[in-house]
């Protein structure tokens, strides 16, 4: 019950924060969708970091390290530390400037102008939304599952069918309701504040959990002795990467590029107050990645020692919760759950707002005009998106043959495959409308074909021609982009001059 109380208090704080941000609302759609380009360095750092880190950063990293050892850090963390700032630097800055100059609020608005194509949205919109929604579902399902796990036995009669815990559907509903409330009232500003708060929470709780668990896992009096005891009990194979194929490790270098085409990251970039606001996220992001991931990877690796007593049947996602329950009290358990929910919600809010913005701007075509109506539609779409995603999450939770979590990894691969499109749009004058269509359609077609071949994501060791699917997808997308662009007509001279100011000098 203590855990539930802590989670409840946390959610109330979030609601208050989101609703209070509404006091600064300027009553314009630009303010609702982009916080009037007023986000400074600190909030931009926290928003970008909170949005890119999901529950996988805490729970998944621990579980994966339990299974494969310390290699998880190099596989997913240090690559992100190196390459996420590259995306902020090379793409985010340019996107921000173009957005501010030409008034873009979504990716599609930019691509329409850049490619002289009003119809590019017909292809890009369903593909991008189709790839984002499974990512949203992971968050909704993860939140419900987390709340159910931590409240097991608290309500033995009321929720007997779900182990006496709050049913996952109800937990998901509450989380969707909280996120919807602060996104509805606070728009982008509320989302940015909530992200800053939640990022602080999950980072702090990750570190606190590490310090508490060290003694429990190591079993010695002193902190250093406990760490030494914990490490020396681990099998040597988990302290190195001997079980990790080089080709998989290399392929995972492509994963961090996925953020370059995430529509919600694109929208966050547009919120920056000025170019200098990007400096802090670019420099500090690698350190934040380290602060969150390194303790979790160490704990997960230590947990793989037989002496720690993890039951063989325990799912990898439950490893961290098991250790917290075993070695600490209900208070830390509640706090850790709040941290996990924080990581989930700090991604969900941006995704909901972004999808609402895309429907308002790209489908309804509302640019300018009656501001009150635009905000009304944006809020209406946010409510509709949350309702639809929640419904889809309920459906996905009953599906027996589809692993929505594995599908999430496939979605990251798809966004990495779309990465060449944004790079070419920003840096290559030779990019054509047809080349972009070809790349997007190729990505979607190859993605569906490979996913089907991989038993809809259930084959977790799937490879095509000996390569991870992300390599195949990126290669296919890039070949289509370059090949078709070289054979087709470039955009008009006036368009090129608009996006490449030095074009007329060439």
């Amino acid at each position: 019950m203590t855990s539930l109380t802590i989670i409840g208090i946390y959610l109330v704080i979030l609601l208050l924060l989101g609703v209070s941000s509404n006091r600064l609302f300027r009553g314009t759609s630009l303010d609702y969708m982009l916080a009037s380009h007023s986000i400074g360095p600190f909030l931009l750092l926290m928003s970008l970091f909170g949005t890119t880190m999901t529950s996988f950063s805490l729970v998944g990293s621990t579980g994966k390290s339990y299974a494969v050892g310390i290699g998880v850090y190099g596989l997913m963390a240090s690559s992100s530390a190196l390459l996420h700032p590259l995306c902020f630097f090379m793409i985010g800055l340019k996107v921000w400037r173009l957005g501010k100059t030409h008034g873009y609020s979504t990716q599609i608005e930019y691509f329409k102008d850049r490619l002289d194509s009003q119809r590019i949205g017909w292809v890009l919109f369903p593909v991008v939304v189709g790839f984002v929604i499974p990512y949203v579902l992971i968050g909704i399902l993860g939140a419900g599952g987390t709340i159910n796990a931590v409240t097991q036995g608290v309500f033995p009669e009321a929720f007997a069918s779900s182990g006496g815990g709050i049913p996952a559907w109800l937990g998901s509903l509450v989380i969707c309701g909280v996120v919807l409330t602060y996104v509805f009232f606070g728009g982008m500003r509320g989302t940015a504040w909530a992200n800053a708060f939640q990022t602080t929470v999950f980072m702090a709780l990750g570190v606190i959990t590490f310090f508490v668990l060290v003694k429990g896992v190591g079993g010695k009096e002193g902190f250093l002795e406990s760490m030494q005891a914990a490490s020396s009990a681990v099998a040597p194979g988990k302290l190195s990467r001997e079980a990790m194929p080089h080709r998989i490790y290399f392929a995972f270098l492509l994963v961090p590029f996925s953020i370059g085409m995430f529509p919600h990251i694109f929208q966050h970039w547009l919120t920056a107050r000025d170019a200098n606001a990007f400096k802090l996220p670019i420099v500090v992001h690698p350190l934040f990645v380290m602060i969150v991931w390194a303790p979790c990877v160490l704990i997960g690796t230590w947990a793989s020692a037989a002496s720690v007593g993890i039951p063989d049947t325990l799912p990898s996602a439950a490893i961290l919760g098991f250790l917290v329950n075993k070695h600490s009290g209900e208070v830390l358990s509640g706090l850790l759950t709040a941290g996990i929910l924080a990581a989930i919600m700090s991604s969900l809010d941006s995704q909901f707002l972004c999808l609402g913005t895309m429907f308002t701007r790209d489908i309804l075509g509302r640019r300018g005009g009656d501001e009150k109506k635009s905000i009304f539609y944006a809020r209406l779409f946010v409510v509709a998106i949350v309702a639809v995603c929640y419904g889809l999450a309920l459906l996905a939770s009953t599906a027996k043959n589809v692993s929505i979590f594995n599908l999430g990894i496939w979605c990251f691969s798809a966004f990495s495959a779309l990465f060449p499109v944004i790079v070419a749009a920003l840096y290559w004058r030779g990019l054509t409308k047809a080349g972009t269509y070809a790349s997007i359609i190729t990505t979607a077609a190859v993605w569906i074909a490979l996913l089907r071949d991989a038993d809809w994501g259930n084959n977790t060791h799937y490879s095509f021609l000996g390569q991870h699917q992300i390599v195949t997808l990126v290669a296919a997308s890039t070949i289509a982009l370059i090949g078709v662009s070289l054979m087709t007509k470039r955009p008009s001279e006036s368009t090129l001059a608009k996006f490449f100011p030095d074009h007329h000098r060439d």
């Binding site: 924060l17 209070s20 941000s21 006091r23 600064l24 916080a35 009037s36 380009h37 007023s38 986000i39 400074g40 600190f42 909030l43 310390i70 290699g71 850090y73 190099g74 963390a77 240090s78 690559s79 530390a81 190196l82 700032p85 630097f89 800055l93 501010k100 500003r189 940015a192 504040w193 250093l224 760490m227 030494q228 914990a230 490490s231 020396s232 040597p236 302290l239 190195s240 990467r241 001997e242 080089h246 490790y249 290399f250 270098l253 107050r273 000025d274 170019a275 400096k279 670019i282 420099v283 500090v284 992001h285 690698p286 350190l287 990645v289 380290m290 390194a294 990877v297 160490l298 690796t301």
Partner: protein, 81 residues
């Protein structure tokens, strides 16, 4: 200085694939697996590298840009207490 930023990044990406510690289970100070310590170090070096990039390769056309008057002095930095 600007010209060495991208070769440096390429070097860091190459250093990320540390085959030399691949099978090494050595524990530094008796607790820190050397392969993990290397990558934690690489994350810190990445932060230092990006600080260098921001200082030396920042796009000048963006540096010169001032905040728009409508937003100046009205930052959404933090909620009011």
């Amino acid at each position: 200085m600007r010209s060495i930023v991208w070769p440096l990044l390429a070097l860091l990406v190459i250093l990320h694939h540390d085959f030399w510690f691949w099978n090494d289970p050595t524990l530094v100070a008796g607790w820190f697996p050397i392969g993990l310590m290397y990558h934690v170090g690489l994350s810190i070096v990445a932060a230092a590298f990006w600080l260098f990039a921001v200082k030396c390769a920042w796009p000048t056309e963006l540096v010169d840009e001032q905040p728009s008057p409508v937003n100046a002095g009205d930052s959404a930095e933090a909620p009011q207490a």
